[in-house]
């Protein structure tokens, strides 16, 4: 028969192997990234020391989009191929993505104050990222709104896929509209428009965030698997008690 819990065994074994590596990579990249970002890179000739906010802000913003894309992909997988781990991966990704989005918004605000003279502007990039944050919150709220976990998974997966239209809007908002936010300078045609001394810490921090995501994702997914096992055990208790009752009352058969 098809065994719904067959996959998690393999997954947990794989997670056991990957998890310490992800933790180690997170630590390694964070330390080197922070060293290069804070000490071994120059201050900007216009922005001064505040430019160093970039080493948190930009990777966090990348992760905000990356997590949503990963979440939407997991949701699509869950809806089409009904892979139980995909539901768990999407559910585990959402809070991480929401945190990265919030981090990008807050650091952006802190950076905007000295640079633009305002904490917040209603331009296309900032607004669309704020909507992304709301979409994460909506996803999590919907996911937890049902007594039947399965229904929560499916409903929120549909929402995540609908909300995916926002991702390209965020990416291209700086090109489509005139915004205060500067256009992409790393990922662009014709090579990055940023000096290597700044690119190095940026890439290191981005890797650190990716490794951190992987690490926390694995921890959260294992937590979810354990929660599912507890739920299934409870169901079984109820079922057995129910059957015992019926047998005692002579109603079975």
């Amino acid at each position: 028969m098809i065994h719904r819990f067959a996959n998690p065994t393999r997954f947990v074994r794989l997670a056991d192997v990957i998890q310490p590596w992800a933790a180690g990579m997170t630590f390694l990249f964070f330390v080197t990234g922070l060293y290069f970002g804070l000490f071994a890179s120059p201050a900007d000739y216009q922005q001064g020391e505040t430019v160093r906010i970039m080493y948190i802000h930009v990777p966090a913003a990348w992760m905000a989009l990356f997590c949503y894309t990963a979440m939407a992909a997991a949701c699509g997988t869950a809806l089409i191929w009904k892979h139980p781990l995909a539901d768990l991966a999407a559910r585990a990704t959402a809070p991480i993505g929401a945190c990265f989005t919030l981090l990008a918004l807050v650091t952006g605000s802190l950076w905007g104050q000295p640079m633009w003279g305002t904490w917040w502007v209603w331009d296309a990039r900032l607004t669309s990222v704020l909507i992304l944050f709301f979409l994460y919150l909506g996803y999590m709220a919907l996911n937890n709104a049902f007594d039947d976990a399965e229904r929560g998974f499916k409903a929120s997966a549909i929402l995540a896929l609908v909300g995916f239209v926002n991702v390209p809007i965020i990416k291209f908002s700086v090109d489509w509209w005139n915004t205060l936010h500067q256009p992409a300078s790393v990922l662009k045609a014709g090579g990055p428009a940023i000096h290597a001394s700044m690119l190095t810490p940026l890439i290191l921090m981005a890797l650190a965030f990716k490794a951190y995501y992987l690490w926390v994702l694995l921890i959260r997914m294992r937590g979810e698997i354990n929660a599912m096992k507890v739920r299934a055990l409870r169901m079984r208790q109820v079922q057995q008690a129910d059957m015992a009752d019926k047998v005692a009352a002579g109603k079975v058969g």
Binding site: G138, L142, A145, F146, R151, K154, A155, I158
Partner: protein, 222 residues
């Protein structure tokens, strides 16, 4: 097509006999707008400046308020389950229900809007743009809202949840709806904003019935 007409006429019939729904939506719309002169003060030029935005936001909230019942009544009394088990295209059934929702809530809002625009001192050049923008925008609101209404079926505290899901998705309609009126008032060409609203309507018309139908199927399968 016959199933579209059958469902549309049933829903209109239900709305007509249950009566109050449309009236309450319009009353909410009017009261919400009337609060603003008290909130920001009665100066005519300030009210005129914010009129378009206030009317759009109130319309959006009013349209959303009635969404919760769009599928919920049919879900609770078992009609939805039977509807899914009929040999009809569910997307068409959804489109019929959304059309009925728009006719009973969106259309009354458009009719009430000019009166409110007068109360808020919206300059005369803005009226035609406001009405056309609402006519193009409110069907999109009903269509997008249908997705949310289908997703929350069976959820705890569905109404609050619905606003959390639907309002972020309403923002594009709001942006183009208000900027069309602002452009009209400033004497700029507003056609491109109306075209954007029309584009949104076409996109939601193509996508939303399909997504809502699959959300409804998910809701009934658990």
């Amino acid at each position: 097509m016959s199933s579209f007409i059958a469902i549309l006429s049933r829903d209109l019939n239900l709305a007509y006999r249950q009566g109050m729904d449309s009236v309450m939506v319009v009353m909410f719309f009017v009261i919400a707008v009337v609060l603003f002169p008290f909130g920001v003060g009665p100066e005519a030029n300030i009210l005129a400046r914010i009129a378009a935005g206030v009317i759009w936001v109130a319309a959006l909230l009013a349209s959303m308020l009635s969404l919760e019942r769009l599928f919920d009544a049919d879900y609770e009394d078992g009609s939805l389950e039977i509807l899914i088990l009929q040999p009809i295209t569910l997307e068409i059934a959804v489109a019929a229900k959304v059309t009925a929702h728009w006719l009973t809530t969106g259309l009354p809002l458009i009719i009430a809007a000019p009166v409110l625009a007068i109360l808020l001192n919206l300059p005369a050049d803005g009226f035609a743009v406001l009405i056309s923008a609402l006519a193009l925008g409110t069907p999109s609101l009903s269509l997008i809202g249908a997705i949310g209404a289908a997703l929350i079926l069976g959820a705890r505290r569905g109404g609050v949840l619905l606003s959390l899901l639907v309002l972020p998705l309403y923002i594009p309609v709001l942006i183009f709806g208000v900027s069309a009126v602002d452009a009209g008032l400033g004497g700029f060409p507003f056609k491109s904003h109306l075209l954007a609203l029309g584009g949104l309507l076409l996109a939601t018309l193509a996508l939303c019935p399909w997504v809502s139908a699959s959300a409804l199927k998910q809701a009934l399968r658990s």
